[in-house]
């Protein structure tokens, strides 16, 4: 302890007049000096928490690239969504609303015509127009460009400039979820400025992004921070908060400590057990049920007891999902009746999940010839989703009570991918999914032969094909109503919960989280 160096020297960059005067005294009084240095050091900490013109967001990872078409990570997308806009956007309720496009129409089922917002400029002064839309989509649709999110826009066959502010997007087949492929969570659909992007083979854009968004790029210190400043000319009005800083903090405890000590204003992914300690005083909690889906999927492609509908129904009766939601998620999130977000297209609030009825489950198992139960593997990943392993283990406990013994296998993410590619998921799985339309959920998960599907039902296939083949929303609604009845009865899944997204906030901050998990700071203010 005695070897302390001159304390004022170490904090020279914060040296004040007072500090200068203190210097001599400190030299003579070593112990006091050490304390003094600590006190001086504390001042800036307290000061940063009081800054109401800056929002600091702490999320798990840094940006990988500033090029929206070149990444596949949500933390990156959250940063880029402040800098760029898409043709359409999503509001806090989850509705698709105009953004760089002011309106759209379908002259025929294969054509989407967008009227574009006039007078919008990119941060570097380039004009936004139909050519920019065409350039953006053509660039990401070029297979050699290797856009990771290519599959989200690959249904687009051509983009045509009709006039400066009208653009037509054509598809080979009807594409009912086109708008969900053009809003901000479809990463390569964020519009980039053609001239600037073409420079240096997009390397300039990847390092110093230029968009039309509410915030302009200032600085990116890798793994440390991304700094953005308000764009006074934003077409949606200048944002209320002058400056935004995104900081990557992987460790949950550290994010919470930063929030509590005033270092950040928004901390993502707060665990349910920490909510109580953050709700009140200088911090508060904000949650929303996400678009994600927790459910168990049953493999019926192999010859196991799961092939029998009665067994699948029995599992639905055997697990008390409400109790799991209450115990592990503090009752947050939304209980779902079918594997589809309750705010998705076609979801009927009248749908009811199977009730918890272990006696009925046992009876169904006996009927199927499994009076003494059976053993089945349960494959999942650990830590992929909030509380996933806890939920899986609680489920196993409920299943054990009706005689079904599950062998839980936790697969490392890479191995999960390898197994999936070989169609190797066996028994019960907890795969997780998301999507705001049956065509984005039921088609990939339940249509015969799809990569993610371990189920087959020709009758359902016909309906899912029909739903994918028309853009007539009324027609789709009636198609999916029929599909829902089949899914409920045949029970290819045990639908569980739309888990919550939990954010810790500075108590003075007004900001609303979105179900899709994208962070939108356009309307945030203190």
């Amino acid at each position: 302890m005695r070897k302390t160096t001159d304390p004022t020297g170490r904090s020279a960059h914060r040296r004040t007049e007072k500090g200068e005067q203190m210097k001599d005294i400190l030299r003579r009084h070593f112990v006091a000096g050490t304390l003094g240095a600590a006190a001086l050091a504390l001042l800036p900490l307290a000061a940063s928490a009081q800054n109401a013109s800056t929002i600091v967001v702490a999320q798990a990872a840094d940006a990988y690239s500033m090029d929206p078409a070149k990444h596949s990570a949500f933390p990156t997308a959250n940063i880029l969504f402040q800098i760029y806009d898409g043709l359409v956007s999503q509001n806090e309720k989850g509705d698709i609303v105009p953004a760089l496009a002011t309106s759209w129409s379908n002259p025929d089922p294969l054509t989407w015509r967008f009227k574009l917002r006039e007078g919008v400029k990119f941060h570097n002064g380039e004009p936004f127009n139909a050519a920019a839309v065409k350039y953006t989509l053509d660039r990401a649709l070029d297979p050699n460009f290797k856009a990771p999110y290519y599959s989200r826009i690959s249904q687009i066959k051509s983009v045509t400039v009709v006039d400066d502010y009208t653009v037509e997007i054509k598809t080979d087949k009807p594409f009912p979820t086109m708008l969900l492929s053009l809003y901000e969570a479809s990463f390569p659909a964020l519009i980039v400025p053609p001239s600037y992007t073409a420079q240096n083979n997009s390397a300039d854009l990847a390092a110093k992004p230029v968009g039309t968004g509410p915030y302009r790029f200032v600085e990116w210190k890798k793994d440390e921070r991304v700094v953005l400043e308000a764009n006074p000319d934003y077409w949606g009005g200048k944002p209320a908060v002058e400056k935004v800083i995104f900081r990557p903090i992987k460790e949950t405890r550290t994010r919470i400590a930063e929030l509590k000590s005033g270092g950040v204003d928004i901390a993502v992914d707060v665990p349910p057990e920490d909510m109580a300690s953050l709700d009140g005083g200088e911090t508060k909690i904000s949650t929303v049920a996400s678009d994600s889906l927790y459910f168990l999927a049953f493999d019926i492609t192999r010859d196991t007891p799961l092939k029998d509908k009665h067994v699948r129904q029995a599992i639905n009766y055997a697990v008390d999902v409400d109790a799991i939601q209450q115990a592990l998620l503090n009752g947050m999130g939304t209980r779902i009746a079918l594997t589809l977000p309750a705010n998705a297209f076609g979801y009927d609030q009248a749908w009811k999940p199977y009730p918890y009825d272990p006696a009925k489950a046992k009876a169904l198992l006996a009927e199927a010839g499994y009076k003494d139960g059976f053993t089945v593997p349960l494959m999942t990943r650990k830590g992929r989703y909030m509380k996933d392993s806890e939920i899986v283990e609680a489920t196993a406990g409920f299943l054990a009570k009706v005689g079904i013994k599950v062998n839980i296998q936790y697969l490392e993410p890479g191995v999960w991918g390898q197994v999936s590619e070989k169609k190797g998921r066996e028994g019960i799985t907890f795969p997780g999914w998301s999507g705001r339309d049956p065509n984005l959920v039921w088609y990939p998960l339940l249509h015969t032969g799809e990569y993610q599907s371990y189920y087959s039902n020709p009758e359902l296939d016909k309906l899912l094909d029909a739903g994918a083949g028309t853009i007539d929303q009324a027609e789709r609604k009636s198609i999916y109503e029929k599909a829902a009845a089949i899914i409920k009865e045949d029970a290819p899944h045990l639908p569980m919960i739309q888990p919550p997204l939990i954010y810790g906030l500075d108590a003075r901050l007004t900001w609303t989280p979105r179900p899709d998990g994208m962070i939108d700071l356009r309307k945030a203010h203190f």
């Binding site: 070897k3 170490r10 904090s11 960059h13 600590a38 050091a41 504390l42 800036p44 900490l45 307290a46 990872a61 990988y64 690239s65 070149k70 990444h71 596949s72 990570a73 297979p143 050699n144 290797k146 990771p148 999110y149 290519y150 599959s151 989200r152 690959s154 990847a206 210190k221 890798k222 793994d223 440390e224 921070r225 900081r247 990557p248 903090i249 992987k250 460790e251 405890r253 550290t254 919470i256 400590a257 930063e258 509590k260 000590s261 005033g262 270092g263 490392e412 993410p413 890479g414 191995v415 991918g417 390898q418 999936s420 590619e421 999914w433 999507g435 990939p444 799809e450 990569y451 993610q452």
Partner: protein, 306 residues
Amino acid sequence: MANFLISRLLYAAIVLLGVSVAVFFLIRIGGDPSALFLPPEASIEDIQRFRHLMGFDRPLVIQYWDFLSRATRGDFGMSLRYEQPAMQLVLERVPATLQLGGAAFVLSIVLAVPLAILAAANRGSIIDRASLLISLIGQSFPAFWLAIMLILLFSETFHMLPPSGRGSWQNLVMPAIVLATYSTAIITRLLRSSLIEVLQSDYVRTARGKGVRESRILLSHALRNAAIPTLTVIGLQVGALLGGAVITEEVFAYPGIGRLAIQAIANRDFTVVQAFVLFMAAVIVVINLLVDLSYGLLDPRLRTGK
């Protein structure tokens, strides 16, 4: 000396080659990053198309040869996630890690050497026992746990230090303490026991018999001899500090190479993991070489290889 150097350099080249084989094939055991990199709804065709575009579908031996021949020319490939040269990503973060590792290294020497000397000089005393206890605790505390405890205490409770980031000296305090704990413990323990051993040797008895002052015996006669085994361990500790930085950097969100490596492993960003492991291996090889050479400075008998 020249022969010694040449043999050591050859040895270094073989070590690095072995490390390159190990890291190249080990990280690929769990599959390639195509499925992790694409969105969940990507079809099997999408994944295969991407895999082909990235060249991950070529035979592993050919991929390795490609990697090795480029690496010998200083090209470690592009990061899949960052689309930047992998070695550049690693080197960009070296100053931050060096700063943290350096602070921890200095801290552990400054704490361990005086503590060991005091303990050895007062063998069996309270100080000695305390030093043993401190090194036991220091070696048994998991870095992760200690880091969280410090954050809870100094950031959440007292608001004295920032829990994460880099920029001011305050950001270094907690990570450096965490990182220094283990090496302080191990250096204290080792230096103490070698000092005790040396203090019982004949030449120390002779020196005492001649009436040399005890402090001079300790600091000049004994310390220099006791330093040789300790130096080996200190050399190893530099490696441990860099390795320990992986966890410490992650907890304190400190932008160094350890954090880059963890993320790259999770993402299967092969080129970055390769660049990181080879960089670390090279650093440790060089440090071991320097330690070997420094023996000569401390012990004249080793200088000519007699």
